[in-house]
Symmetry: C2
Subunit: 357 residues, 2 copies
Amino acid sequence: MSKIHNFSAGPGILPAEVLKQASEACINFDNMNLSLLEISHRSKNYEAVIAEAQSIIKELFEVGNDYEVFYLGGGASLQFAMVPYNLLRENGTAAYLNTGVWATKAIKEAKLLGNVNVVASSEDKKFTYIPKGYAIPTDADYLHITSNNTIYGTQIKEFPKCPIPLVCDMSSDIFSRKVNANDFTLIYAGAQKNIGPAGSTMVMVKKDALGKTGRKMLSMLDYNVHIKGGSMYNTPPVFPIYVTMLTLKWLKANGGVAWIEKLNQQKADLIYNEIDRNSLFYGTVAKEDRSNMNVCFLMHKPELEIEFDKFWKDANISGIRGHRDVGGYRASIYNAMPIESVQVLVDVMKEFEKKFA
Amino acid sequence: MSKIHNFSAGPGILPAEVLKQASEACINFDNMNLSLLEISHRSKNYEAVIAEAQSIIKELFEVGNDYEVFYLGGGASLQFAMVPYNLLRENGTAAYLNTGVWATKAIKEAKLLGNVNVVASSEDKKFTYIPKGYAIPTDADYLHITSNNTIYGTQIKEFPKCPIPLVCDMSSDIFSRKVNANDFTLIYAGAQKNIGPAGSTMVMVKKDALGKTGRKMLSMLDYNVHIKGGSMYNTPPVFPIYVTMLTLKWLKANGGVAWIEKLNQQKADLIYNEIDRNSLFYGTVAKEDRSNMNVCFLMHKPELEIEFDKFWKDANISGIRGHRDVGGYRASIYNAMPIESVQVLVDVMKEFEKKFA
């Protein structure tokens, strides 16, 4: 069968060698002659997986032992609740930056647990830009930001200098570029965009930020319980964490974040340059805030979409129809997306222009 | 390589054909030429998986449209919190039967949300029996029971006639035997014992029992949110749910619950008869409460354990060391365990007796 160019927004593309190892582990994991799906998570073979999945996060983020890493189920959506549950003091206030659908959902959950101060929002222009120059209240318990917006295709290029604990949902651009992780108190990411399959969510948090809310806590919602349990307070999502670990090892083995950042910039430049050059297409968001992960674009003549859809489908391209809130097209070019596939899409756009401009 | 006889207590054994399909789906799912791990959960191919995973539960339980089925991450441990969060009225009381470690954990979470009435407990005899003849308070919001105790090897053989909503953690014996599911208001099960891999938890609930607590609810903890979202309010644990669906289809295709109940009884009889016959071993729990899933047994002379360990390891048996709370041995004989493997264990016990009795 011919190769599919997978631009899916998430769950998104994973490295072929990771998929091969994942497939093999379903039959025979770690030469145990047993499937990874049917062994104890307390076996020494799996304990090595969890340990590696934790330590590689700290290595790639270049942080020390003041941070703890663990994996949970429930996706970023569960973290929208767990962040205020663990960090927002009873009767305290949390600050949120609203840059789209996911930030809005995070704000909704925080409001159920305390006061929320939305420091800035780009809702006035349908989330097509990243607000800047906003004031951060120094008496709030934390500021929550969303580093990349999958739906609208915006990305925070410069993180705010933050006088209070900074919390970031990095689900859709984690390890796509260098960040100074030590500036963050908490980083979380659903794995299924850049670092693994659905079902595994990474949380990295500064230990000393926890235990201050005064809240009586349900065990499974308490970060300290998961830290104390070594990311295995209860049976973890064994297979999704394994594939996440493989994906992170793939990144590290190929050159780490510095390597992928350069490649991601080349991929983004390739397609954004074509969008700007091509007379049939235009980008949807402010140029300085364009996401290097999710590239959203529309056609000047929407009636040509039917024809364009035939073009890219013929080229074995998959998953570039835009989110229903934006329409048009969205090419998600996560870490595992090869530049060759981006070139295929660009070539299709060029050919399409020749025929229909 | 020679076959391993996998008696792991959980995550536990899965059918070989399910593992093969799971392995294939990691490379090419549903002839999409894409991995199941990198496609949208909103693709029609995956929506068919979720739909099947929901409908087959209702089919196997023989329940109608007054029940809703959905899958979550977080395991049974998260349900320990979500059950009272969704069913225990503010200032209300919930009744719990305490039959072991898991029930104790469920009770702990419920106490964080309201009043708990423990109707009976077998803690006085280290959970080696199932309490019977207890009174159920008619003014409690629900009675919570644990159908099978994985650690101590007990199983509720006859469910209580319950004048209030009956809630059951069936994690370790779901679909191992016929139950009258219509007697239950809510059944939940972490998949990793009998119906799938870790990372997928099934919840089946009567719609009309929900929305009565008066509690302001976090979205991800609200059963109604997941029902309304069709089990996809957020990105679900895609792969674990797929393998769960495959395991349930395997059960159905082979004859369903009636078929497996008969087979499970044969497997249990085979090993319990040997434990009772063999002069070196004895069972740990009251005979009438013995689990057909987790068979716990000890040696009269514990000093022989080192020798016995060599015997079963030589026979390619895996995972029968007992839980640290009980010691000795625990043979977990879940649905996917072939009777041939149980026979291998029984033969090993017989040979061992010949040499060491």
